[in-house]
Amino acid sequence: MAGRTPRWLLAIAGAVYVFLHAPLLVLVAFSFNSSKYGASWEGFTLEWYGRLLERADIMAALKVSLIVGLGSTAISTLMGTMLALGLARHRFSGRTFVESLLYVPIVTPEIVCGISLLILFAWMKLQLGISTIIIAHVAFNISYVTIVVRARLEGMDKNLEEAAMILGANEFVAFWKVTVPQLWPGIISGALLAFTMSFDDFVITSLVSGPGSSTLPIVVYTMVRKNIEPSINAISTIILVVTSVMIYAADRLERRDAPQGAR
């Protein structure tokens, strides 16, 4: 692309960004506003962040969110990585179909996923709680992890394991010393994405959570229903920052030292 970008194009791009992010900026700004009713700016404060620590319900929800996030991330990362390896290594009939199934949980409306999981849990007579939330999150996170790891595998030189084997490494050593180091960025990136998805999820979680197992987004929603208070802005800002940082890290990892690939 030679030459300069025309000004009108820059203006439109700028407007789109404002449209996208202005609501978030307002939220962040008001989380530091000392006015209790939020309509006007009355000065900077960290009071609302401080108050979060005193709220037992928010702290409990944060704990649930972390347990669910870490648990579902660990399980889905392991399963998703193995699935990606299986899909990349083995040619079997119906492989393309199995691969396209990966996208089903991603494109299905969350409400449908949530209801179907709820029906499943009811049928299995599972008590709704942290474990059902984890199962639900694993169900959609496997797809994300598999797709990310799969992309990494796709770019990997197929000769690398063979090269390792002819240099004296058996199958296990070749996998551990050559394939896994190549895959790490993909695995970590998939895990970050999975954690973010889990931490942010509201619709599915609200359907499959039980008493005493509310995650952060659910508690925030309940708070909003009762009355608007500045603490909501504070906790939302924290969620926003955490997820943004993780998505950014995941993206960087996917790009950084991407495999050389077959040239």
Partner: protein
């Protein structure tokens, strides 16, 4: 060490019902530079992979032997061979040193020895260890990667080194340089090289012997001179170097030469080791440098087929003169360039001429196996 280091005995390999390698047999002698040459899809890569242990022969598909042991199902790491891959296959997450050390570490070589052998191996391929040792493969040029791949394979001092089109990605000048170096390494280290390539010139330049593969079989096996000067089939004559092709019917055998009558009635003679029955069809090949064009009436002293000059093509060190015979067959003669600016070739398009060649230079071709 006596006897062949590698032996293929009636080896076949089938992928999804189609034969990638069909009943091939050959032996490779210690220290030999052995090339497997052929167009893509001829089975040369499968042959190399059978040798490396990435593939196994069919259940009734003969024997692959290394150092007189049947290795049909031995894993690659049980074979004590090294390999240089087409795209080098350097481990991108390891430094140059770590790449070269990989095989030594797998063999449990002591740390201090690893370091000194890695250093020696890098020096052996003319990469300064101080400069390149700590670099990542992605920070190297194609030629440097090639050298690292070689060092990684040679540091293990294997009896056999497999090379899968290792020079394919390099530019012409570098390729020539590496050809020479590979040959030197082969001689100096006494390692048997098995070299797969589709580049006939590369195979002719470096090899002690060449197996020309076509359609999953070995079409011809021999020294570069044998392959080039005595191609057995039309495929070999066409694939290695250039050839003129003629055909006709046998009308006599005298003095060790077949008399062959072409469809347009002209005749030529071809040296033959055995008599052929009259009326049999023969196909022959003739190298362009064994053919010359002379003016009509000139005493050709041998075969002379009338034709017309079609073109003179300037190729630098050679000139190619092309003529069309009376029946429309094109023939090309290669002549050394004596200096076009000083002593130009006087042929012009349309000049009548005689295609002159000796009966001894005509190669009678065998029918190709199908």
């Amino acid at each position: 060490m006596s006897g062949p280091v590698v032996a293929f005995r009636n080896v076949s390999k089938t992928f999804n019902g189609s034969k990638a390698v069909r009943n091939i047999s050959f032996e490779i002698q210690p220290g030999e530079f052995f090339s497997i040459l052929g167009p893509s899809g001829c089975g040369k890569t499968t042959t190399l992979r059978l040798l490396a242990g990435f593939e196994s022969p069919d259940d009734d598909g003969g024997e692959v032997r290394i150092l007189d042991k049947v290795v049909n199902h031995a894993r690659p790491y049980e074979r004590n061979i090294s390999m240089v891959f087409q795209n080098y296959a350097l481990f991108p997450h390891l430094s140059v040193e770590q790449n070269v050390a990989f095989g030594l570490e797998r063999r449990g070589v002591a740390k201090a020895e690893v370091a000194s052998r890695v250093k020696a191996a890098l020096e052996g391929v003319r990469l300064a260890p101080e400069t390149f040792g700590k670099r990542a493969p992605s920070a190297l040029s194609g030629g440097q990667r090639q050298r690292v791949a070689l060092a990684r394979a040679l540091v293990l001092q294997p009896p056999i080194l497999l090379l899968d089109e290792p020079l394919g990605a390099l530019d012409l000048k570098l390729r020539k340089e590496m050809q020479y170096e590979l040959k030197q390494l082969n001689r100096r280290l006494g390692i048997t090289f098995v070299y797969v390539t589709h580049d006939q010139e590369e195979a002719l330049t470096m090899s002690d012997r060449i197996a020309v593969m076509d359609n999953a079989r070995v079409a011809q096996l021999g020294s570069p001179a044998e392959i080039y000067e005595r191609p057995r089939t039309a495929f070999v004559a066409r694939f290695i170097g250039e050839s003129n092709f003629l055909s006709g019917t046998v009308v006599g055998f005298e003095g060790g030469q077949l008399r062959v009558r072409r469809d347009d009635g002209t005749e030529f003679r071809a040296a033959a080791t055995e008599e052929r029955t009259d009326g049999g069809k023969v196909h022959v090949a003739l190298r362009p440098e064994r053919l010359r064009f002379v003016p009509p009436g000139h005493d050709a002293d041998g075969n002379a087929l009338p034709g017309k000059i079609k073109a003179v093509v300037y190729r630098g060190e050679m000139l190619h003169v092309r003529a069309t015979l009376a029946d429309g067959t094109d023939m090309t003669a290669a002549m050394s360039n004596e200096g076009q600016l000083r002593l130009p070739v006087s042929w012009k398009e349309g000049d009548p001429c005689l295609a002159a060649f000796a009966a001894e230079d005509v190669r009678i071709l065998e029918a190709e196996a199908s």
